[in-house]
């Protein structure tokens, strides 16, 4: 991103006054030149999009070819609940119409197609890629494509089920600055890919690792193995999910108590998103993307978990370098 160059306009300074006081004019300029791609327009992503459109990113591109149904707007405030408005339109189109309204200075557009059909060059147009409601293989694929580019494309996955949420972050080799006792210091972080992260042996992880991490991997694997779409599970799948959990715990030499059955039951029973958790996860993700674009402040490395039941929002570092115990 070319950061030097033109100053913020008076219009921008007036609109973004309060946030420029938080992250500075240079960060605001970087934001206004950043291009963000999102895939999977459910409630959490809708929250995220609202946040970065309000913050003033340069452009936002939406992909989701699914046709809107009554179920789609249950936790997505970007979709008008009138059949005559939504019928025939895709989720991405409907969300795009609403988002444009939030901030006329941001270019919001729709790209058609499925994730797997986009080539590497397509991803080169973006600085940030966020995917949601994606199968395990799609996550791996997009992450790999972002990695093969010479420019650094920040990659995020985000998913919410029941009253739980998970964010994964891959910033590759990331340099940033942060304030430390009135001084600005330069920092470096090396991120693993999604595949590398989830390949870290479970027994190598800290005892206090968030249980949600294991549970999400079990569900992800189950849906992949059964050929289901993301979220296409119900209580009827619980026996199968629990069986897979036991197998995985055995192979990974992890005590089964680290993946509570009650947690898995919640995640398969209630696959719809819970609006307050969408707001929380969408807010945290928005903040992370703003940090990554501006190069300011400690980013999450490399997972974030929130469960409304205990109210904790926890950062976990799951990478080789951090594995040994």
């Amino acid at each position: 991103m070319d950061v030097d160059g033109e100053e913020l306009t008076a219009q921008e300074t007036a609109l973004y006054d309060r946030q420029i006081r938080v992250w500075g004019a240079d960060a605001q300029r970087r934001l206004s030149k950043a291009h963000v791609l999102v895939y999977g327009m459910k409630g959490t992503v809708a929250e995220f999009c609202k946040n970065i459109v309000l913050a003033g990113v340069g452009s936002l591109t939406l992909i989701d070819d699914r046709v809107a149904t009554a179920e789609a707007f249950s936790s997505n405030f970007l979709i008008p609940p009138y059949e005559n408005v939504y019928s025939g339109k895709t989720l991405a189109q409907l969300c795009c119409d609403s988002l444009k309204d939030f901030n006329p200075m941001v270019r919001v557009s729709v790209e058609k197609g499925h994730l797997s059909t986009f080539d590497v060059e397509f991803f080169a147009k973006f600085d940030v890629v966020v995917v949601s409601c994606c199968s395990l293989s799609a996550k791996k694929l997009v992450n790999e494509k972002c990695r093969t580019l010479s420019k650094r494309v920040a990659f995020y996955t985000v998913d919410c089920r029941d009253s739980c949420g998970e964010i994964f972050v891959d910033l590759q080799h990331y340099k940033y600055s942060k304030k430390k006792l009135d001084e600005t210091v330069e920092c470096n972080l090396q991120y693993p890919t999604f595949v590398e992260a989830i390949s870290v042996p479970w027994r190598a992880l800290q005892l206090r690792m968030s249980k949600l991490y294991f549970a999400m991997r079990v569900i992800e694997k189950y849906e992949e193995a059964e050929g289901r779409r993301v979220g296409e599970v119900s209580i009827a799948d619980l026996p199968g999910v629990l069986k897979l959990k036991r197998e995985l715990c055995t192979t990974q030499s992890l005590s089964e108590s680290h993946v509570p059955d009650t947690l898995l039951e919640r995640l398969v029973t209630n696959t719809t998103e819970f609006p307050p958790v969408c707001a929380i996860i969408g807010g945290i993700l928005g903040q992370e993307v703003i940090k990554a674009i501006s190069g300011k402040g400690d980013p999450i490395k490399n997972f974030f978990f929130f469960d409304a039941l205990d109210g904790k929002g926890i950062i976990e570092d799951i990478s080789d370098s951090n594995g040994g115990r």
Binding site: Y16, R18, P275, P276, A279, Q287, K312, G313
Partner: protein, 643 residues
């Protein structure tokens, strides 16, 4: 929690909730409530929509600027926030009230109608008021605030958890008058001088007491002249007038101050600045861009920067540029906005006022060797602008809704106070903490040290009952005799109360002396306190500027300012301190420790978190757009207090 949160729908559907504040947190909250299935939402908000709110109040658009947040003017068909939410959730009931939450209509009976009250407020005063009404009506309160990346949500249920006021809250910062008028050492002192003294003197209400100039060494003899200097003579040329003011406040007044040698023994001597030294003799600045200056329709769009062809808010102006802005801004006030002169009060959204205050503060800073600041920064200081971003508000709103759901289920064991942190503590960005039990000393008898032969009832009402106890419409009794009552008072009592206000305490019809127990009550807040009066002769003017000290009241805790010695000067007309905060939107910097003695849910030692927290000096937390709720820079002090 036994079952999972999403299964709460039955509790939610029948619930009637009151939201107070429709700002940054409020917009997010209304959206999340509606999505979560709440269907009977009432909102109280009195503000209008500003451009600088649009970046995080997504329910509003440019076309709504200037309209009330909760209920726009009549030309617009309906309430903006309500309409925006009804677009994606038709069929739910949203009832907006465009009013101040302190209006008597919102009494205890009104509050009793609700199952839970949710605050998204921006000032201490309103928070305390809502807290008291919730206690009186026995309605649970979920309280919140954000500042930048920091935020917090707390739950207050009468008899179960501490109330909002069980913890001390800091008072708005104030500065000694002499620091402002004579010995500024920080840029903020120059801003307060430019805004509360110079701007008020030249453009505000002439009848207001004003400390400008009283600190000169021979103020008594010069006071006659002083009056003349600030008054623009009939037909006086505006350029001449501007230069006269300039030379008086930045030149002559500094010379006068310098003549008081005592003051400068241990301080750097300021340099007087005269207009002829910084500006060439030619009058009339070049009005380069006058053609672009669409001033006529809208007074607030008049700008000295535009008029002088200056654009960048991030540039720091030279003394010469500040001087040109100062004179040009004054000229524009007197030529384009003359009708407002005498009624103006500083408004951070008034461009010309911000330009004038920035320039005046910078010229004064230059005199005193204080670094100059750009307009953007000066505006932030002058307007007490609190940093705000949409993402923190969104997170906090989600947390409020989760707590509201627990409250509706009466799931006391699950209530949590949650802190949203900028730097993770024990890997947590969102940190839940078990709520405290109610503080037993909250609202216990108070005592007041006061010189009952000097202080008037008026002083007690203003400085203690209103300012400290936060009462709005107080009633004051000495045993069975009524000394004062505010609000809806019978006509024949008005003159009696007025007369009492002017009386010294010991000379009241029912004398207040050492040992007297006063009863102070606010019916609307349903708050009643007993104050035990202790007579004391002497007060330290600097440390105890009120001339009275309230004991036993845990808040607000004032933030101590520097220990400037006051300049000896008998001519001082006031020993009051100047509040740096705006009176309407007083920001408070609260101090709340997220960690003190609280047990973290299911996790062990807090010490590491405490240590980490200390390293991030000032974790400040929170409030909505225009203010700040919490944070912490004095953990030790707090722990002691609690023990």
């Amino acid at each position: 929690m036994a079952s999972t949160l999403p299964h709460f729908t039955a509790d939610i559907k029948g619930a009637k909730v009151l939201m107070v504040g429709a700002g940054g947190i409020g917009c997010e909250l209304l959206k999340t409530l509606a999505l979560s299935g709440f269907s009977d939402i009432h909102i109280i908000d009195m503000d209008t929509i500003e451009v600088s709110n649009l970046n995080r109040q997504f329910l509003f658009r440019q076309s709504h600027v200037g309209q009330s947040k909760a209920k726009p003017s009549d030309e617009v068909l309906n309430q903006v926030a309500r309409d925006a939410v009804l677009k994606f959730r038709p069929g739910i009931s949203i009832t907006p009230y465009h009013a101040n939450v302190k209006d008597p209509d919102f009494n205890v009976d009104f509050f009793k109608e609700f199952n839970v009250v949710l605050n998204g407020l921006d000032n201490l005063d309103a928070r305390r008021h809502v807290n008291r009404l919730c206690l009186a009506a026995n309605v649970p309160l979920v309280e919140s605030g954000t500042t930048g990346f920091l935020g917090q949500v707390t739950v207050h249920v009468k008899g179960k958890t501490e109330c909002y006021e069980c913890q001390p809250k800091p008072a708005p910062k104030t500065y000694p008058v002499c620091t402002i008028t004579s010995t500024p050492s920080k840029f903020v002192h120059c801003i307060v001088w430019a805004k509360d003294l110079l701007f008020a003197k030249l453009l505000g209400d002439k009848n207001q007491e004003n400390d400008l100039n009283v600190r000169s060494s021979d103020a008594a003899s010069s006071s006659e002249n002083v009056k003349d200097v600030f008054e623009r003579r009939k037909d006086e040329d505006i350029e001449e007038y501007g230069r006269k003011i300039f030379d008086h406040v930045f030149g002559y007044n500094i010379e006068l101050a310098l003549s008081n040698e005592e003051t400068w023994k241990s301080r750097t001597r300021p340099k007087p600045i005269y207009s002829k030294d910084v500006l060439s003799e030619e009058l009339a600045p070049q009005n380069g861009n006058v053609a672009n200056n669409h001033a006529s329709d809208d007074g607030l769009s008049v700008s000295a920067m535009a008029s002088l062809g200056m654009k960048n808010l991030q540039d720091i102006w030279s003394v010469k540029e500040n001087s040109r802005i100062f004179l040009e801004a004054l000229r524009l006030f007197f030529t384009k906005r003359e009708k407002e002169i005498g009624n103006l009060s500083f408004d951070k959204d008034d461009q010309l006022a911000v330009e004038f205050v920035t320039a005046a503060a910078n010229i004064r800073a230059a005199s005193f060797g204080i670094p100059l600041h750009n307009l953007f920064e000066a505006k932030g200081i002058a307007g007490n602008i609190v940093h705000a971003v949409a993402t923190t508000n969104a997170v906090i709103a989600g947390l409020i809704v989760i707590e509201a759901m627990k409250v509706l289920r009466n799931d006391i064991q699950s209530y949590r106070m949650t802190y949203c942190l900028e730097h993770p503590s024990r890997n947590m960005l969102l940190m839940p903490v078990e709520p405290f039990e109610p503080n037993k000393s909250c609202y216990t008898p108070l005592s007041l040290e006061v010189n009952t032969n000097h202080s008037k009832l008026k002083d007690l009402v203003e400085k203690i009952v209103k300012a400290k106890l936060g009462m709005d419409l107080p009633l004051i009794m000495n045993a069975s005799s009524l000394l004062y009552e505010a609000g809806d008072v019978e006509d024949d009592m008005v003159p009696i109360y007025e007369a009492n206000l002017e009386k010294v305490l010991s000379e009241l019809p029912s004398p207040v002396t050492g040992g007297t127990m006063l009863t102070v009550e606010d019916y609307q807040q349903e708050l009643k306190c007993n104050i035990n009066i202790k007579h004391r002769e002497e007060f330290d003017e600097e440390k105890e500027p009120d001339g009275m000290v309230l004991l036993g009241w845990t808040q607000p805790v004032s933030v101590p300012e520097s220990k400037d010695k006051s300049v000896g000067n008998g001519a001082s007309t006031s020993d009051a301190t100047i509040a740096a905060a705006e009176s309407e939107k007083d920001d408070e910097i609260g101090i709340v420790s997220p960690l003190k003695k609280r047990k973290l849910h299911d996790d062990s030692d807090v010490s590491k978190a405490v240590a980490e927290t200390k390293n991030h000096k000032q974790l400040q937390v929170i409030d909505d757009e225009d203010d700040l709720v919490v944070l912490e820079d004095n953990l030790d002090g707090f722990k002691k207090r609690r023990l």
